[in-house]
């Protein structure tokens, strides 16, 4: 593929359009989503004001919807950064239009997920006690508590993934700055951090991104392992399981890819990015999703089979209600959503289309939410002493807050797309050039080669030298 001036102009036009032009639909969508978020915040306010009892929690089910949402959203956050880092390190060419919309899912899903441990606190105004600050009481947080590990893991991951998201945005913000006038120019001048596209800047950016890509992978894996240890460390039947760490990580990546496919499909439709987010991307991600679905099946079989075979009284009291008791409808829906439907759709090539992967991803997102719920609630309902067993039913506050998080995710994403080109423009351009000049060794295609050259149109300050290269 050869890129000439027209192509560059079209690329810029296509990908910068959402930043410069805002339709009425945007305002309506933002308004509706914001209203849902406000209602959810009001529901939380009501819970604070009236007492925690307005939620459906009880003894013995002390954790339910809120912690389900926590685990679910932290899981969703694993698509982005992890996928993007792996694809970057593997230098998969098709990744270029996908990385940013994946990375941003991580950041927002983490923010939403991390808010749940606070929402679920009995006294949320004291949440800062998890932070190890020097205080007059001279008490540290309890470093033996998995909740404190959570706190550190999540803050590390949030910092890392935000950096990982922002680094490659800088050249694109510089591009917007150069094309914009008025307040936008001022705003993006600040955001672009003085990016000029000098060789030094490119080389530093490349190094920084490489370091982040390598560093973020162990962080991501550790985060969901630690989330799983919130359960696995407690002596609760069917929580206390060694398989939980890898099981949660696999489930997190699984639900994360599904969320990524859904986000990409919506972006493609709404922003008319059909030329950039192509069926090839959905096909590739669909294959990845298929693999993760099989992994997920493997883990749930490993977990369930060993419990069933072990036949321990306290665990069987939890096991049977999920297989054929009150939780069975949810359990088998989950199996259908996470395995049967995706497996059929994704393993047939003709069905692995945009529409097909979207259907599979939707069922997976639902199925994975149910999975988290089934991990948390049934064991709490039937813990050891039968006299203290209980049942859990969600109450409106919890349902509203849960709905609010989905709206919050959509709203944050919507606003992000308004301020940042959702497809990394400079990476796309660099990619086009890289593919067109085959004989050049990869090492030469590194930073110094991405030097800004006086771009023909004078518009881009990014790596605009491709027309020179390919001629």
């Amino acid at each position: 593929m050869v890129m000439n001036r027209d192509d560059i102009a079209r690329l810029n036009e296509d990908l910068l359009r959402p930043l410069f032009r805002t339709s009425g639909r945007f305002y309506w969508a933002a308004l509706i989503l914001a209203l849902i978020v406000i209602v959810a915040l009001a529901a939380w306010g009501y819970q604070l004001w009236a007492g925690f009892g307005v939620a459906g929690l009880n003894r013995p089910v002390y954790w339910a919807f809120y912690i389900t949402n926590f685990v679910f959203w932290i899981g969703i956050s694993h698509a982005g950064t992890l996928i993007s880092a792996i694809l970057r390190l593997a230098n998969a060419r098709w990744r270029r239009p996908v990385t940013r919309c994946a990375e941003v899912i991580t950041v927002f899903a983490l923010m939403i997920g991390a808010s749940f441990p606070v929402i679920h606190l009995g006294r949320p105004w004291l949440a800062f006690w998890l932070f190890p600050y020097p205080s007059e009481r001279r008490i540290w947080p309890n470093f033996r508590s998995p909740l404190v590990w959570d706190f550190f893991a999540i803050t590390t991951y949030l910092t890392g993934s935000t950096t990982f998201l922002l680094l490659p945005i800088i050249p694109d913000w510089a591009l917007v700055r150069d094309k914009a006038k008025g307040w936008r120019r001022k705003l993006y001048s600040v955001l672009a951090l003085g990016w000029r596209g000098t060789p030094r800047q490119w080389s530093r950016l490349e190094t920084a991104m490489h370091i982040m890509a390598v560093a973020i992978i162990p962080v991501a894996v550790s985060v969901h392992t630690i989330v799983s240890w919130d359960f696995a460390m407690a002596p609760v039947p069917m929580w206390h399981s060694t398989v939980f760490g890898p099981y949660f990580v696999a489930g997190a990546i699984f639900s994360g890819i599904a969320a990524l496919i859904l986000a990409m499909a919506i972006l493609r439709k709404v922003l008319h990015l059909e030329d950039y987010l192509t069926p090839l991307h959905f096909d590739n991600l669909g294959k990845l999703l298929l693999m993760m679905s099989l992994f997920w099946l493997y883990f749930i079989v490993a977990e369930r089979l060993t419990v069933w075979y072990g036949n321990e009284t306290s665990e069987m009291a939890v096991y049977w209600p999920t297989q054929r008791g009150p939780f069975a409808p949810l359990y088998w829906t989950m199996i259908g959503c996470n395995f049967l439907v995706p497996f059929i759709i994704l393993s047939i090539k003709q069905l692995r289309t945009v529409a097909g992967t979207v259907v599979a991803s939707s069922t997976i997102v639902v199925g994975m939410w149910i999975e988290r719920f089934l991990i948390i609630v049934p064991p709490l309902e039937r813990k050891y002493l039968p006299f203290a067993w209980g049942t859990y039913h969600p109450r409106p506050v919890e349902i509203i807050i849960t709905a609010g998080t989905f709206a919050a995710m959509a709203l944050l994403y919507l606003l992000f797309v308004k301020f940042v080109p959702i497809i990394s423009i400079w990476e796309l351009k660099a990619g086009v050039r890289q593919e067109s000049v085959v004989p050049i060794p990869a090492s030469l295609l590194r930073a110094p080669d991405l030097i800004e050259s006086p771009s023909p149109s004078g518009l881009t300050r990014g790596p605009a030298g491709f027309s020179r290269e390919v001629s």
Partner: protein, 234 residues
């Protein structure tokens, strides 16, 4: 001499009268929940009398088992608390420090005996119960956990008294509210480090067992299992 506070529950003696539950409520300012909230599982009782039925009508048997915090030596509720609100005292008690509690309820999940209670609302007492609050026990606000303390206020009061009189604690000088109230003396409280004490003697009984011993919590409460009834088939 260090103390090792312990309780023995004789299941052969317990009649299920729930006097212990009422006494505990009065002693420790345990709020009432009301009918609706109780049905939702929000009722708080630091000691509860579990009832298990066996057999079919017309020969049903009911077994009572008073369950309170077992003051575990290896308490699963302690390490999981992020703020040290669930804390092991030097005397081996499991203390709940209300001011430190932020209400994660993790300890409530981790406790195998399900004896930790969350304050879903600010406490209320039906009139005239509000007139009988115990000034020695603090009232717990919404959003924090509470549970049996082995009547730590009584332990402390007795220790302070003994110290003022420059003597050791005397066996039977004080006891917990539940043990004090129990008509058939099914509950016995005392110091396990004193080999002459009643609890030490009962702990040596061949009926002595621990509840959920297999979980490995090393409880300080001992249950004396019920023998079979005369003519009862087992």
């Amino acid at each position: 001499m260090d103390h090792k506070w312990s309780m023995v529950v004789d299941l052969d003696r317990c009649t299920g009268c729930e006097a212990c539950v009422v006494a505990c409520r009065a002693e420790n300012n345990v709020p009432t929940a009301g009918e609706d909230e109780a049905a939702r599982g929000r009722v708080i009782h630091w000691i509860r009398v579990e009832r298990y039925w066996e057999g079919e009508f017309p020969n049903p048997r009911v077994r009572f088992r008073p369950v309170l915090c077992q003051q575990c030596d290896a308490a699963p509720c302690e390490p999981v608390c992020p703020t040290y609100a669930s804390y092991h005292t030097p005397e081996g008690l499991n203390a709940q420090i209300y001011n430190r509690c932020i209400g994660t309820r993790y300890c409530g999940n981790a406790c195998p005996y399900t004896v930790r209670y969350f304050n879903f609302f600010n406490p209320v007492w039906d009139k005239p119960l509000h007139l009988q609050l115990n000034p020695d026990v603090s009232i717990r606000q919404v959003g924090i956990m509470e549970k049996c303390t082995f009547c730590v206020q009584r332990i402390k009061a007795a220790e302070i008294q003994a110290k003022a009189e420059k003597r050791d604690l005397i066996e039977g000088e004080f006891t917990t509210a539940c043990a004090q109230a129990c008509p058939p003396k099914a509950l016995v409280f005392g110091d396990l480090n004193d080999p002459q004490s009643e609890v030490s003697r009962l702990n040596r009984s061949n009926r002595a067992t621990k509840l959920l011993e297999e979980v490995g919590t090393r409880p300080s409460v001992t249950y004396l299992e019920r023998g079979t009834w005369r003519g009862e088939k087992t």
